[in-house]
């Protein structure tokens, strides 16, 4: 069994004990919300970091899963609502997101780099418009509200502390699964396809198949994130999957860092903290300038996000010995520290 650095145990202990000193607002609106946004951004990070494919329609996949909950389950709008039990609704919702994501992959994998960003953005926008215009399935502009989380065995999952733990379990499971999958033959072939698609193809890998499978898996993560999101808000409407939110998810993933699955969660935490407390620092109206400025600074000065910033600051504040130690222990755990530039220029060969 591989040794785990004490810092990880410390982090785990902090995350588990967090809800006890915190009040309901901090538990749900900061803690759980960060974990949910992080999960959705993780879906983007997997594609961008391991696959070299920046997909902006992962939030849309999450949104579709979220829509499936009131459509297949119950809603108070009187539109559709088949009244299925959660045991059927939730798996079908996740599967919908995964299939949608795979479909986007099917359209997008023929192009790469910037083309893929534009195509996935266009798909995201068209779904946004479709949900806004369609009243038969998506109930148009208003969407659905009054959605309740399930109460298995009498436990209300939407109560602050259980909900926080639910989100924490989901997030930790996905982070560990991602780290594990990155070292499976599939994960390695995905990284090979990212680094040199022609060579991977010459070695006998089907590049589109690997990429589309990655989209499918990322779609599962996005779908679960979407379900958590609809449980948190109790409502879903086209605004939830609008362009600005799509960009927010990209900002979260990039600001956090695309090298390690922890990155999106750091980014999400930073984003949520800024969103809630920027009001104390600067006029509430100018929130977007703050968030855009932070994003701009990160992109300009630390291309690998907060994680990269931390990695560079650590030696300077006297933690150098820890860095090397951790580096040697977790070799193979991090993906190759290839710069994004290298990834994309390889893509364009």
């Amino acid at each position: 069994m591989k040794q785990v650095h004490p810092n990880w145990w410390l982090a785990a202990a902090l995350l588990v004990l967090y809800p006890f000193p915190a009040n309901d607002f901090f538990t749900v609106q900061i803690g759980a919300y960060s974990l949910i946004l992080g999960t959705i951004a993780l879906s983007l990070m997997i594609l961008a970091g391991y696959g070299g494919m920046v997909s902006l329609s992962q939030l849309t996949a999450a949104g579709l899963a979220a829509y499936m909950v009131p459509i297949l389950g119950t809603n108070t709008q009187g539109v559709l609502g088949f009244g299925w039990s959660y045991w059927f609704t939730l798996p079908v919702a996740v599967l919908t997101a995964a299939l949608f994501s795979a479909l986007v992959g099917l359209i997008a994998v023929r192009n790469s780099g910037i083309y893929m960003i534009m195509i996935t953005l266009a798909v995201a926008v068209s779904v946004f418009f479709f949900t806004r215009q369609n009243y038969e399935i998506f109930n148009g502009f208003t969407g659905y509200s009054g959605i309740e989380a399930p109460k298995p065995f009498g436990l209300d999952l939407r109560a602050p502390i259980p909900f926080y733990y639910l989100c924490l379990i989901v997030a930790v499971t996905f982070v560990l699964t991602t780290l594990y999958t990155a070292r499976t033959p599939f994960g390695l072939s995905l990284q090979a396809v990212r680094d040199n698609p022609r060579r991977a193809s010459a070695l006998g890998y089907s590049v589109p198949a690997v990429r589309i499978s990655a989209f499918f898996l990322a779609g599962i993560i996005a779908g679960v994130g979407g379900i958590m999101l609809v449980f948190l808000n109790g409502r879903i409407s086209p605004g939830t999957i609008g362009v600005d939110v799509v960009i927010d998810i990209l900002v979260i993933a990039v600001v956090g860092g695309l090298r390690h699955p922890i990155g999106p969660f750091l980014g999400a935490l930073a984003f949520v903290l800024l969103e809630n407390f920027a009001i104390d620092l600067i006029d509430r109206e100018r929130f977007n300038t703050v968030i855009g400025g932070a994003f701009l600074l990160i992109v300009l000065f630390s291309p690998d996000g907060l994680l990269g910033l931390w990695g560079r600051l650590k030696p300077q504040i006297g933690l150098a010995s820890m860095t090397t130690k951790r580096g040697s222990q977790s070799s193979g755990l991090d993906i190759e520290p290839n710069s994004l530039k290298g990834r994309l220029s390889n893509e364009n060969v």
């Binding site: 023929r110 780099g113 083309y115 068209s126 215009q133 362009v243 400025g293 994003f295 992109v299 994004l340």
Partner: protein, 334 residues
């Protein structure tokens, strides 16, 4: 070999469609056609609206595609340039009372901003697609917010110059009165002006790229940038120049579009998406492609709105996905 011998079926199809369209525009519609498509007036107006919108899209997208084609620079702040051009043009036109001055100011201001952006930002990360994308997204987020701060959430509309004001009667008969008198279709003259500006810009760009020395250098740069530099051309200067033209066109389009329609927060994203779809469909980096893409998208949007209003907006994206499925590099892409 002439085109009709090379692709007889395609030529026949295109020619046939064109003939049908011309007949539909000029003939007086028989009753069965009215039963299918509704009144002729709606059809012709939709067609003209679509062409106008296509002209506007072409103005915005040609700058985008020019910049991308030469420099592989992805400028996702292009929509913000459109909106900023609109606002600047509005301020200048309001204070000076001269619409043309406003349009010129918008072009110049955005050309300067574009050149500055190229020198300070894009030159530093040449060839780094993803960072450029992220950076320009960051810029557009901030720009949108700052524009909201200084111009507020209200909708602005320009007063077009007197010459272009009012509607003109087109030599197209919409229907016959019972007395046998012909009713001609009226259309706002300004909108036809937009179309003319777009066509003029397209022709000018084509002449510039194909008949001048700088244009030749730009085309050479699109094909092989390093070879052009090796031939002794100052590529950096050409980059700044092209970026300035592309950004200036976006600013100009802001004034022209702001007069035909209006300018308000959110228009930046709308025109960014429109130019993205236009260049994806038409093929990145090709001016002809941008023209074809703009025509397809402009017409699809207007016909979609007129004939299937609920899903009209989605239609453009369906076209884009279909085009990508058949030709991933776009219609004129290489």
């Amino acid at each position: 070999m002439p085109v009709w011998q090379q692709h007889p079926w395609r030529t026949a199809l295109v020619g046939g469609t064109a003939l049908v369209l011309i007949w539909m525009i000029f003939a007086i519609w028989p009753d069965w056609l009215v039963d299918i498509l509704g009144r002729k007036k709606t059809f012709v107006n939709t067609l003209l609206n679509g062409l106008t919108l296509a002209g506007l899209y072409f103005l915005v997208a040609s700058g985008f595609t020019l910049i991308f084609g030469l420099m592989r620079n992805v400028n996702l702040a292009h929509g913000s340039m459109y909106l900023l051009g609109g606002y600047i043009g509005y301020e200048v036109a309001e204070t000076s009372g001269n619409w043309i001055l406003g349009a010129a100011a918008a072009f110049m201001a955005l050309a300067l901003i574009g050149a500055a952006l190229q020198v300070t930002v894009f030159r530093r990360m040449q060839g780094d697609d993803l960072r450029q994308t992220m950076l320009t997204i960051g810029i557009s987020i901030i720009a949108a917010d700052l524009m909201l701060a200084s111009w507020g959430g209200t909708t602005y509309q320009f007063q077009p110059p007197e010459v272009l004001f009012g509607a003109i009667e087109l030599p197209i008969i919409s229907a016959l009165r019972s007395s046998g008198e012909a009713v001609y279709i009226k259309y706002p003259f300004y909108r036809l002006f937009v179309l003319m500006v777009a066509v003029a810009t397209g022709v000018a760009l084509w002449l510039f790229l194909n008949k001048t020395k700088i244009g030749m250098m730009i085309r050479a740069g699109v094909d092989d940038r390093s070879m052009l530099a090796a031939a002794g051309v100052n590529v950096d200067r050409i980059f700044v120049f092209v970026f300035a033209i592309g950004a200036g066109l976006a600013g100009l389009a802001g004034v022209i579009g702001g007069t035909a329609l209006s300018i308000a927060p959110g228009e930046d994203i709308r025109y960014l998406l429109a130019s993205l779809v236009v260049v994806i469909v038409g093929g990145m980096g090709s001016i002809t492609g941008a023209a074809i893409g703009a025509l397809l998208i402009g017409l699809a949007e207007q016909f979609g709105l007129a004939y299937f209003p609920t899903y009209g907006v989605v239609l453009t994206f369906v076209i884009m996905i279909a085009a990508l499925a058949i030709r991933p590099q776009g219609i004129m892409g290489r």
